[in-house]
Symmetry: C2
DNA sequence: GTCTATAAAGGGATAGAC
DNA sequence: GTCTATCCCTTTATAGAC
């Protein structure tokens, strides 16, 4: 029961358009045009716009998981956290144009009072739990979750302001400041009882 | 040539709806319904949806200026900056529901590739310049702008995550952390030559 | 699985009566 | 200054031919 190639292409284009133009502002005609199919064919693969939003969120959840697992090849927890922070540098062009894909979708769905808002926020949940695991590995057992949320908030703030200002120097300076914060964070080596 | 009371009511309701539901998702019918006038009457006061967006941004620019001036009754620059940071606490209910009004509008207009994006970003410009003035008063002449942007970015990050998580404890904790950062910031008293 | 044609609703915007 | 009526376009969604 492999999903059709067309369905996958619709998901890819919808994912990109929801990010670049927003969910509400993206029409079926936009998606169909990007994929190169007719509007009618669209409904053979998805029964509604909400249905494709669900598929896009599934895609992003899966992509996030894959990315987090790939970062675990870095042995040192601080290097793993640094991999997260440096998404801002890697994706700087898109972030300066459209903000963060996770933050902006969650924000938009909150305003639309959309049923999928909590599922979109689950992507933050994956990052949160993974980051907390890294802070636990650094010995911050008691404040791991707060530290994880701190890194997430700092990153979201950088994305919002980088997009508003269209200023790469700002983005790089704030990423450096966040990395410096991480460097200063004491590593508490656990001593078994 | 005072603007009519109806025009003002339209601006107020549009401002609230653009914040709570988003610009794109708010229709003329929504605004007219909220104000209690017919759709046709709407066009007597504004010639297009973009026209009312301009008026809403004007409103927000003016409101921001008024707020910044009001904070200058606080003599100490750190107290002034604290006034800014504490908007997050004062407006926490709306922020947890809809995010920051400035950040979310700028983000949405960026995705829509809307001509008013840069004017919306000017609201950030007001905060940026005002905050930078306070950091200069604290003796941070050389990095005043960077510090101002840091505070703006931290605040935006808190707003995005507070909205995604719907978590007031997180919001309060991050506001406290930002205030602690401000407390730790050294005040460099200038010694004339 | 893909298409064309079309329905049904809602969007922005205009005309003209009152 | 406010209303009703209407236009035109786009939107989501469906029906049915190929």
């Amino acid at each position: 029961m492999s999903r059709s190639a067309t369905r996958k292409r619709i998901e890819e284009k919808a994912d990109a358009l929801f990010y670049e133009a927003g969910f509400e502002a993206t029409s079926f005609a936009d998606i169909a045009g990007a994929v190169g199919i007719s509007r009618g064919n669209f409904y053979h693969h998805f029964k509604s716009k909400d249905d494709i939003l669900d598929a896009v969120i599934d895609r992003r959840l899966a992509a996030t998981q894959t990315m987090l697992v790939s970062w675990e090849t870095d042995a040192a927890p601080k290097d793993r956290i640094r991999s997260f922070i440096r998404i801002l540098i890697t994706n700087r062009t898109k972030i300066m144009a459209f903000g963060c894909a996770v933050g902006t979708l969650t924000t938009e769905l909150a305003k639309l009072d959309h049923i999928a808002e909590s599922r979109a926020a689950e992507i933050f949940g994956l990052f949160r739990d993974w980051l907390a695991d890294q802070f636990i590995a650094l010995g911050h057992k008691d404040d791991a979750d707060a530290l994880a949320l701190h890194v997430l908030a700092r990153s979201q703030g950088i994305a919002v302001m980088a997009s508003a200002l269209k200023d790469e120097a700002f983005l790089r300076a704030e990423v450096s400041a966040l990395e410096a914060w991480l460097d200063r964070l004491p590593v508490q080596t656990s001593t078994k009882d």
